[in-house]
């Protein structure tokens, strides 16, 4: 049975304004820009909403409704910072999260090792979101996205409203239909029939609703009974993350390059770690001095071209989520590089990013951590001694008549490639 947490908070644009101007917290604030612009209101503070300002209306109308309001432009960078902070905070609580402008969702299905009960788990999520936002959210928990959202609306800051399994219909029954995400025309027709709350619709036969309103009628019926089944549209991490280090002067010394590579690896590793991400591939470009747009070295057999600069790319044996795990691969890429001119800048790019914090080694399959360590060691050995020095044999499917065709040598596939491991004598 799915369980979803919904945390409702003021619009991130409004929170960004309050963060920079705490003195405006009690004042009517309208986010969207100057009132003379023909733009809609993005967010309004409670004082402005009390004066009649609504998100979506024209700024000019908002000014007429609340002449004393402070009009500010949307701080997009501040909003993204807040969003990233919420994502990072909730990533530590739940494996699947979704963060919007005014609400965030987290998956509470199953059980959590640290938080034994759903209430404690939800409270932890609420605390994490509050710490990231600086504002306590109103939290609701339900069996679906819609029920959780309604529960959060019925909740209050510093409170968690839980709708237990099987109680969804009873909880939704008194709610007005205008809160339902449905076609307003259908809702208006239902209202003319005297069906203005969820309980009245839930009591109807689904077939009758379908005859009158088609699929929309069935969807409203499912929503009214709390069995819509909609879950979390999980946040997807960015696909790549890169760091570039421009050197003070062109460097030809490999030891100095190694030092710079270590520095850039530390930076990228910290970013991965703070974002709870793990990289599946790693690319290194050494921009050489002399060309107008710079040239690069190190494009090996698995190289590519990024932004016009050839980049040596390596598929990591196991996803790397910090500097320590990235460093052996960076060393290998540096070893492959053959700079023909002094290097003026380094660019390190982590690709195929995935959620790193969701990977709990040794939890389900014993020996995962050991397999990862062995896979990293194999890559280090291959970097140092050659690709053919550590191999795995695989029997050929069609060996033919020649004995030497009975098997093929192949590079160990790392953690994902199977192989028994972890057992101890």
């Amino acid at each position: 049975m799915a369980r979803v947490l919904c945390a409702r908070f003021p619009h991130l644009g409004l929170l960004a304004v309050w963060r920079h101007h705490p003195e405006l917290r009690a004042e009517p604030v309208v986010v969207g820009g100057a009132p003379e612009l023909r733009l809609p209101v993005i967010a309004a503070s409670p004082a402005a909403e009390a004066a009649g300002v609504r998100p979506g209306q024209q700024l000019r109308q908002a000014q007429q409704a609340c002449p004393a309001a402070v009009f500010v432009a949307l701080d997009e960078a501040g909003v993204e910072r807040l969003r990233a902070a919420v994502v990072e905070a909730l990533c530590g609580v739940s494996p699947a999260i979704e963060v919007g402008d005014e609400e965030a969702f987290a998956d509470l299905s199953g059980s959590h090792a640290v938080h034994p009960s759903e209430g404690a788990w939800a409270a932890a999520g609420a605390r994490a979101a509050a710490a990231a936002l600086g504002e306590a959210p109103a939290v609701g928990v339900g069996g679906s996205r819609f029920v959780a959202r309604m529960a959060a609306r019925a909740s209050a800051p510093h409170r968690v409203r839980r709708v237990r399994e099987g109680e969804e219909a009873a909880f939704l029954a008194p709610l007005p239909l205008r809160l339902f995400p449905a076609d307003p025309a259908v809702l208006a027709r239902l209202a003319t029939l005297g069906l203005d709350c969820a309980g009245a619709v839930a009591g109807l036969a689904p077939a009758d609703l379908q005859r009158q309103f088609g699929r929309e009628g069935l969807a409203i019926h499912r929503l009214a009974r709390g069995i819509d089944g909609d879950g979390i549209h999980a946040w997807a991490p960015p696909r790549t993350m890169a760091e570039r280090l421009v050197l003070d002067g062109a460097v030809a010394n490999l030891e100095a390059l190694r030092f710079c590579a270590r520095r850039i690896t530390d930076t990228l590793g910290s970013r991965l770690q703070s974002g709870a991400l793990a990289a599946g591939t790693l690319g290194l470009a050494l921009e050489q001095d002399g060309g107008p747009s710079g040239t690069a070295c190190g494009s090996g057999t698995n190289g590519g071209v990024r932004a016009g600069i050839p980049t040596s790319i390596r598929v990591l044996p196991v996803p790397a989520g910090n500097a320590g795990e990235l460093w052996p691969a960076v060393l290998g890429l540096l070893g492959e590089a053959r700079p023909t001119a002094p290097v003026s800048a380094l660019r390190l790019e982590a690709g195929r990013l995935s959620a790193g914090s969701g990977r709990q080694v040794d939890l389900w399959r014993a020996g995962d951590a050991g397999r990862d360590a062995v896979a990293r060691s194999v890559v280090r050995l291959q970097d140092r001694f050659g690709q053919d020095t550590v191999v795995r044999a695989r029997l050929a499917l069609d060996p033919g008549d020649l004995p030497e065709r009975r098997f093929v040598w192949e590079a160990p596939a790392g953690a994902a490639g199977g192989g028994r491991g972890g057992g101890r004598p």
């Binding site: 020996g367 050991g370 397999r371 360590a373 062995v374 990293r376 060691s377 194999v378 280090r380 050995l381 001694f385 050659g386 053919d388 020095t389 550590v390 191999v391 795995r392 044999a393 695989r394 029997l395 004995p403 009975r406 098997f407 040598w409 160990p412 490639g417 199977g418 192989g419 028994r420 491991g421 972890g422 057992g423 101890r424 004598p425």
Partner: protein
């Protein structure tokens, strides 16, 4: 008296700082050696503590050869059979310093090739090979087999330091380390070994005129984990088209370090001896010896 004790402690501490903790140590009860049971009754019964010592070095070396006997001693077959057994339950590494590994032969012994890492150092160099094995052991590979090349016994051993490091890593990681080495035994290996099993060929096992195996007498030539001197005969049955290779005990040829007089022509007495010294029935299968 207290002053003397303090001076002694200081001297020991200084020596250990300078030469390492292994240079001077107090006597006492030896650290009990864990064992990895091979699953082969005859071998587990032969080796003190019932299996290959964990965290220590086991050598499979050539024993005595009789004139006119088989040229092979079976040490590599035995190593690969043990590796195959280990690969069914854990990740293993095979350091092929001889460059002669046939993975198909490993598979014929029932090895899980997915669990086998094969290390082939450039040029078959011993030092780098041992260093690579050490890296894998430190990373967590719990079973490492090394096939040593021939001709290393009478030369200086530049790989002595990597061997020591490998031994320390195996001890720290509680890994099983098994090295098959031909005669003559290099001095560093002979010194570092905790258990040395000598493989002395007895004769070929034949069926219908074909060689199907090698009969070998395994002797515990050196043991730091128990009393040396015991020996047992095994049949290294080679893989056949529809059967895997296996190691089978031959109880009729088991002898002990201080054996009671046994009449070799009395099968019942031989079987009793085997049970007495191995603690088992001696073998899973007793083939009829040819010749």
């Amino acid at each position: 008296m207290a002053t003397t004790s303090n001076s002694l402690a200081e001297a020991i501490s200084a020596l250990q700082r300078r030469y390492g903790t292994a240079a001077v140590r107090r006597g006492g009860d030896p650290v009990p050696a864990e064992a990895w049971p091979t699953g082969l009754p005859v071998l587990d019964g032969l080796i003190p503590r019932g299996g290959l010592p964990v965290g220590r070095l086991t050598l499979l070396s050539d024993g005595e050869r009789s004139p006119g006997g088989p040229g092979a001693t079976g040490r590599l077959t035995l190593l690969q059979a043990l590796l195959a057994i280990a690969s069914r339950s854990m990740q293993v590494a095979y350091v092929d310093l001889r460059g002669s590994l046939d993975p198909g032969y490993l598979a014929d012994h029932g090895a899980d090739l997915d669990a086998c890492l094969v290390v082939r150092p450039p040029g078959g160099a011993i030092g780098p090979g041992l260093a690579m094995a050490r890296t894998l052991v430190r990373a967590g590979v719990p079973w490492v087999g090394v096939a040593f090349p021939s001709g290393g016994g009478d030369r200086p051993a530049p790989w002595e330091h990597p061997l020591t490091a490998l031994g320390e890593a195996a001890w720290a990681a509680r890994a099983v380390l098994c090295i098959a080495v031909p005669a003559p035994l290099p001095a560093p290996l002979a010194y570092a070994s905790s258990l040395t099993l000598g493989c002395s060929p007895i004769g070929w096992q034949e069926a219908h005129g074909d060689v199907v195996g090698l009969r070998v007498r395994l002797g515990v030539d050196k043991s730091r984990v128990g009393a040396p001197g015991t020996s047992a005969a095994v049949l290294l049955r080679y893989p056949r088209p529809h059967a895997v290779g296996e190691v089978v005990g031959l109880p009729a040829l088991v002898t002990a370090a201080a054996p009671a007089p046994v009449a070799l022509d009395d099968p019942a007495a031989d079987l009793d001896t085997a049970r007495r010294h191995t603690g088992t029935s001696g073998a899973r299968d007793v083939p009829a010896l040819a010749g």
